[in-house]
């Protein structure tokens, strides 16, 4: 009798304790994270023909596959899409394996992206850095692993030729200065009160587009920058910023210079909303050259675009091959750029991205 009671009590105790522990569940967080690391493996036949000729130059781990990594800071607009597509298509054309990571405008994520890429037995790495300073540990990590690095479209606070091979980028200073020169030649006004909408502060592009433009403005006595604000590279943000500037200045300006044409499109919207006529009352100068903006030149709402070619692929892989062949590489390589205005807009629309 006693024993049965004991057994019953014990079993109840067991059950109760289990019931309690049963409530706590494992937090099975998915370690995969949200990072998009896409691997594009070419058709086997294509790579085989390339690899069959001779052993692949610069193949670090000797696995017969030349794997190129690309850490992109973001794919947040047409320019980036064009850049990634260009890199990818050239890599495919040349028979390299191409691995890409998207940092989604997050400096910390870009560091871990580079780590992830390096873990995939890379033979070469392209980085489009989000932040000049923050990217340095990633560059050092690649150097430690012996993976050569070429930076795309932005510089970094490390030593070119030592920590990394070189930077391929548009001549941002040229872009800024050319905008000022174009204004001087085609502005058709005696004096220019200029509003500058910059990109997100922190990149060498913002720094140089501002510096180049200010250098150009300094050359002409009739030009004055009355306001400089960041539009964060974004159309909607630029639109808001522009609205504020219009209100604070009472519309007392006749030029808006934007660090990219996406922001210029936002500015156009804001100006129209305020009853000002972009393209005539207010000249709109921009950089980049995406199709929508070129269309806006045709529509007469943007006046001038200094191109910033996103199609890095040919130059990037050419430079990489030069490096692998042991040729001398310039520390800074500039893409070829040009000016689009109403005179050549329809012609250049086909090249726009």
């Amino acid at each position: 009798m006693k024993r049965k009671v004991l057994a019953a009590v014990l079993s109840i105790t067991l059950f109760a304790s289990l019931g309690v522990t049963g409530c706590s569940k494992d937090d099975g967080a998915d370690a995969a994270g949200t990072g998009e690391i896409t691997t594009e493996t070419e058709e086997a036949s294509e790579t085989e023909t390339a690899a069959a000729d001779s052993e692949v130059k610069g193949d670090i781990n000797g696995d017969g596959i030349f794997r190129v990594g690309f850490s992109e800071l973001a794919i947040d607009g047409a320019w980036r899409v064009a850049q990634v597509e260009s890199m990818e298509s050239v890599a495919k054309e040349k028979g390299y394996e191409f691995v890409m990571a998207n940092a989604e405008l997050d400096t910390a994520k870009q560091l871990s992206d580079v780590e992830d890429l390096l873990a995939q037995d890379l033979d070469f790495l392209f980085i489009a850095p989000m932040d000049m300073e923050a990217i340095v540990p990633a560059i050092e990590a690649a150097k430690t692993k012996g993976v050569p690095v070429i930076l795309l479209d932005r510089e970094a606070a490390a030593t070119a030729g030592e920590d990394y091979i070189c930077t391929i980028l548009s001549d941002y200073l040229w872009q800024g200065e050319t905008c000022a020169d174009w204004l001087n030649e085609n502005g058709g006004s005696d004096s220019y009160k200029i509003v500058q909408i910059t990109g997100k502060v922190g990149g060498s592009d913002v720094r140089d587009r501002q510096a180049g433009f200010e250098t150009g403005v300094a050359k002409y006595d009739n030009m004055e920058i009355i306001a400089t604000q960041s539009g964060e590279w974004s159309r909607t943000e630029a639109q808001k910023v522009m609205q504020n500037i219009i209100q604070s200045t009472g519309g007392d300006f006749n030029v808006v210079y934007c660090h990219n044409d996406e922001m210029a499109l936002g500015v156009v919207l804001a100006l129209k909303a305020a009853g000002m006529n972009p393209g005539t009352d207010v000249k709109v100068l921009a950089i980049d050259g995406q199709a929508e903006a070129v269309e806006a030149i045709i529509a007469g709402e943007i006046n001038c675009i200094a191109t910033c070619n996103p199609r890095f692929g040919p130059t990037a892989f050419e430079t990489m091959e030069k490096y692998l062949n042991g040729e001398n590489i310039d520390l800074i390589i500039n893409n070829a750029e040009y000016i689009i205005d109403s005179s050549n807009a329809e012609e250049k629309l086909a090249d726009a991205f």
């Binding site: 024993r3 059950f15 529509a299």
Partner: protein, 588 residues
């Protein structure tokens, strides 16, 4: 079947009972527990699924609402109608402003949408996205024709890459609907909202962080499911059979898609099972140990008194029947057993006592009867003989006879004592022989040979009347039955540790068969022998000697028929204390 001890059997039974009870309770509680876990898991999954389903439904509902906002929007309706442009400038200007307008609308409405597009049959296209359009004609696409050809909202589930814009490939789904020119009522194009499939993952991660679940979404048309957590397409699992250890639950979304949640309850409760196993293991050890200890104690509690009782019973004999046993036990039955045993032994003791008394009484009665039997007969004969002596004027002889008779009776009375010294017994016998030889003067002679020290004869105490009956037998059955003269010799001697008394007569002797039977009876100490009629006295004497001195002593008869008979009386040299005690006992 072999016999086993109660203690062992009890122990085994108790342990077995405990183990069975334990096994049953563990099994039942485990089954109950696992069932409960599965049920809880199902409830949890259902709740999570309800929540996720609601969230996805909400996104879809928002999309539908946004579509209706767009198709009723004045700016958009105006843009649809304003399609007569002189040159491209107008087209581009319209596109720039409407793109920005769409973007602002979309951004303000919801962050979940990847892009909103207005695509018109006349080739105009407007987008909210920052990404450029694809360089192909959307009018020829199947999806476009599918949307424009039906009045209802059309959901396109899970395709790789966006349909309208050029972007890095990511999987999308879309909600689309035809749009009419409200003025003419004519269908002019479509509005379509694209979503990244990834937003499903975000919803589910937000709600399912505590449960290890595999969610997938599918519509019934496509042959692939969308694995939400891993953000990829998987082969559609059409076998809806529930696999062992996996819970699968399905729920329909409002737009007809199906959300599926799979969870391995085994994975979920793996850790709990491990803990359970350990607790059960510890429990088994504790319960087993407790059972064994309890079983041993319990069985001992029952068997220990039993053992005491057994020991008590083994020690019981005639001498300690009065001893009772006292046992400390809490079992009523045991108490009854012990008190019963005590009662029984005391009753047996009483019976023994009673028996002993009866036996003593019987023996006394025998003795008295014997005395009573002998005496009147002997007295009559002797007195008759004395009368004859007087009648024939043999006064001296008569006087001697009377004196001898008187002394004979004085010894026979002997103060009522049953025991008597051997000296007096011999004296008594001598008087008897004297009387008898006086009576049968011509027929009998006798001789007594005292070969032992007088002291020893004085000290040895023997039962009264052990020699007189033997001598009487020799006279009547040995000599007088033959009808010739005979001689009786009584010898007393010391041989080894025995006192030997031999009563020898040269009379008729005893037939061989009878002698053998008689000697056997004597050896066994029997009182009755059917084969002998004159043996009563002999067996009685023998039995009394054995009773006093033990089975080593008693009578042995040697005889050859027609020649002689010798009765050997074996007695000890001296009495031991108990015989003196016995003497007093008998006296009492």
């Amino acid at each position: 079947m072999g016999k086993v001890s109660i203690e062992k059997r009890l122990r085994e039974l108790f342990i077995a009972t405990a183990v069975v009870a334990m096994a049953m309770s563990i099994t039942i509680s485990t089954i109950f527990y696992i069932n409960n876990i599965i049920k809880t898991a199902k409830d949890n999954i259902n709740a999570t699924m309800d929540y996720n389903g609601a969230e996805i439904n909400k996104i879809i509902a928002e999309g539908i609402e946004f579509l209706s906002i767009l198709e009723n929007d004045i700016t958009i309706q105006q843009a649809i109608r304003e399609n007569d442009f002189e040159n491209e400038k107008g087209i581009y200007a319209q596109r720039i402003s409407l793109n920005s307008y769409l973007r602002i609308l979309a951004n303000n409405y919801s962050e979940d949408m990847d892009g909103t597009y207005l695509l018109l049959d006349d080739g105009r296209s407007f987008k909210s996205s920052v990404y450029p359009f694809r360089n192909d004609d959307f009018q020829n696409k199947k999806w476009y024709q599918g949307i424009i050809s039906q009045e209802n909202i059309r959901y396109d589930f899970g395709y790789e890459g966006t349909r309208v814009i050029s972007n890095i490939v990511y999987p999308c789904f879309s909600i689309g609907r035809q749009i009419r020119n409200y003025k003419t009522g004519e269908v002019v194009g479509i509005i379509i909202i694209e979503y990244k499939m990834e937003i499903l993952k975000k919803i589910i991660e937000k709600n399912s962080s505590t449960i290890n679940l595999d969610f997938s979404v599918c519509d019934e048309i496509t042959d692939r499911d969308w694995d939400v957590l891993h953000n990829k397409f998987i082969e559609k699992d059409n076998t809806r059979r529930e696999k062992l250890g996996i819970i699968t639950l399905r729920q329909s979304l409002e737009n007809g898609w199906i959300i599926t949640a799979k969870s391995s309850w085994f994975q979920m409760i793996k850790r709990e099972l491990l803990i359970t196993g350990m607790i059960i293991f510890i429990g088994i050890i504790i319960i087993t140990t407790a059972s064994v200890i309890f079983a041993i104690r319990f069985s001992k509690a029952i068997t220990a008194p039993l053992h005491e009782v057994l020991l008590h019973m083994e020690n019981i004999d005639q001498d300690n029947l009065k001893k009772t046993i006292a046992i400390n036990t809490k079992f009523i039955e045991m108490e009854k057993l012990v008190s019963g045993l005590n009662e029984m032994t005391s009753q047996i003791n009483d019976l023994f006592e009673k028996g002993r008394m009866v036996e003593q009484d019987m023996r006394k009665a025998h003795f008295m009867a014997l005395q009573a039997q002998i005496n009147p007969h002997f007295l009559y004969n002797t007195l008759d003989h004395i009368a004859w002596q007087i009648r024939v004027n043999m006064y001296d002889e008569a006087l001697a006879s009377i004196i001898a008779l008187a002394k004979f009776f004085r010894l026979a009375l002997n103060m009522g004592e049953e025991l008597i010294t051997l000296e007096k017994e011999l004296e008594h016998t001598n008087y008897y022989l004297q009387i008898q030889t006086a009576r049968f003067k011509d027929e009998i002679s006798y001789q007594m040979n005292m070969e032992m020290e007088q002291n020893k004869l004085k000290e040895l105490v023997v039962p009264k009347f052990i020699l007189q009956p033997l001598v009487e037998n020799s006279i009547y059955h040995g000599i007088r039955d033959v009808g010739e003269t005979g001689k009786i010799t009584v010898s007393v001697r010391e041989v080894d540790q025995y006192t030997y008394i031999l009563i020898h007569d040269d009379g008729a002797g005893i037939p061989k068969e009878k002698l053998k039977s008689l000697n056997e009876s004597l050896m066994k100490g029997e009182i009755n022998n059917r084969d002998t009629d004159k043996g009563y006295g002999i067996l009685n004497v023998n039995q009394r000697i054995k009773y006093l001195f033990g089975m080593d002593y008693g009578l042995v008869i040697e005889s050859i028929e027609g020649k002689f008979t010798t009765v050997k009386v074996l007695l000890p040299l001296a009495n031991i204390d108990s015989q003196i005690v016995q003497k007093h006992k008998i006296h009492k």
